[in-house]
């Protein structure tokens, strides 16, 4: 009897949450969840954006480093044009809508004779249809590797096109996502200054844009022996 009475009193004193308390706690839970979702979304987006920028940044740096390495070790630069330009005779640049930028040079002096041979020539060209930068070279093991080249053979856009058609010439991808390229050579046939090449690159990838501007000076310039 006494126990029943005690239980009844305890049940009467027990109370649930008021409606206002429930509403406030629900609101706080919603606010907290909303904040967590917002922070997670912002973090994810920030990470993706940072990742894209970082990827483009590394691509730019890597391409620039390769251009410096190739050009600095060159002996003589014959051709350098920007997009929409061509060179029909050495040193003369004219407009050519649609043409890709190119730099053609005597990349190495293999047997120290100041004579250019086919396997010592390098061509870097901007392929605008694929937005890529490619390096064309003939392997030293090719049967025609020792074919003699002269200054004029590396100094015009026509010569660049002909070089790409030389049997055995291989292309190698230097960079992708390159939408605009410009090469310019200074001090050709100069006896005071060393030859240098300016390059301007524009990379675009997934709404990210990055530009690169460099100047590569030939470390051991040599006037080709055309005799």
């Amino acid at each position: 009897m006494t126990d029943d009475r005690t239980n009844l009193i305890a049940a009467a004193n027990r109370r649930g949450f008021m409606l206002v308390e429930l509403l406030i706690s629900s609101t706080l839970i919603v606010l907290t969840l909303g904040a967590i979702v917002a922070v997670s979304y912002a973090t994810t987006e920030g990470w993706r954006c940072s990742d894209r920028a970082q990827t483009l940044h590394v691509t730019t740096y890597r391409t620039s480093a390769q251009l410096y390495r190739l050009l600095r070790s060159g002996n003589y630069v014959g051709l350098a044009t920007a997009d929409d330009q061509q060179s029909t005779s050495p040193g003369i640049i004219s407009a050519s809508p649609g043409a890709g930028a190119a730099v053609m040079f005597w990349a190495e002096n293999g047997i120290d004779d100041a004579k250019i041979e086919a396997a010592e020539v390098a061509l870097i060209e901007h392929d605008r249809s694929t937005n890529t930068l490619k390096l064309y070279q003939l392997p030293k093991t090719a049967p025609n590797a020792n074919t003699r080249f002269y200054t004029n053979d590396i100094s015009t856009s026509t010569a660049a096109k002909a070089f790409k058609n030389v049997p055995g010439v291989q292309s190698r991808l230097l960079a992708s996502g390159v939408t605009s390229v410009s090469f310019r050579v200074y001090y050709t046939n100069d006896s005071v200054n060393r030859q240098s090449v300016d390059f301007k690159l524009l990379f675009e990838r997934q709404r990210q844009v990055r530009s690169e501007f460099g100047t590569a000076v030939l470390r051991s310039p040599i006037k080709p022996d055309d005799t």
């Binding site: 904040a35 200074y186 524009l202 690169e212 000076v217 040599i222 006037k223 022996d225």
Partner: protein, 158 residues
């Protein structure tokens, strides 16, 4: 109480995220600054240290050298300064800089009598220093020692 806990939590979460973003930004700006320094250094070392005819050296551009396209000697670059907002090639054509923010480049040419010697008024060596200030305020410095000896300048090899 709940609001205080919430704000503290948000602050705790955002702190590392901001630090990570800032770190990435500093790294990218430092690389871009190094690239700009490398460009100017290579441009400078294409020039002779001393005039090949008179042997004179330069401590900065003369009154007729208004742009760096008119510089002839390494020393003409002493005191040179530019920014990426008006960046140009040697021939004056504009360079569009899309890599974020404005970078400022300055050049100092310090002559030396010996490669490891102290700075002198003239000498057969010069330490070329290019400093690039990034938008975030960090400064990247690149140096190269140039010397005054006859070079192989587009001459046929013997």
């Amino acid at each position: 109480m709940a609001a205080a806990i919430l704000s503290a939590s948000v602050t705790a979460v955002m702190g590392p995220i901001w630090a990570s973003y800032r770190q990435t930004q500093v790294m990218q700006q430092s690389t871009a600054a190094a690239s700009l320094a490398r460009q100017l250094l290579d441009e400078i070392i294409a020039k002779p240290l001393a005039d090949p005819t008179t042997g004179d050296i330069s401590h900065g551009p003369d009154a007729t050298q208004l742009t760096r396209g008119q510089y002839k000697l390494v020393g003409d670059y002493n005191g040179y300064s530019d920014t990426t907002s008006v960046l140009t090639e040697l021939d004056g054509s504009a360079v569009t800089w899309n890599s974020g923010g404005i970078y400022t480049r300055t050049v100092k040419i310090a002559y030396r009598a010996t490669p490891a010697g102290s700075e002198a008024a003239s000498g057969d060596f010069a330490l070329v220093t290019v400093s690039v200030k990034a938008p975030g305020g960090d400064v990247v410095t690149a140096q190269r020692l140039v010397s005054n000896f006859p070079r192989l300048l587009l001459k046929p090899m013997p």
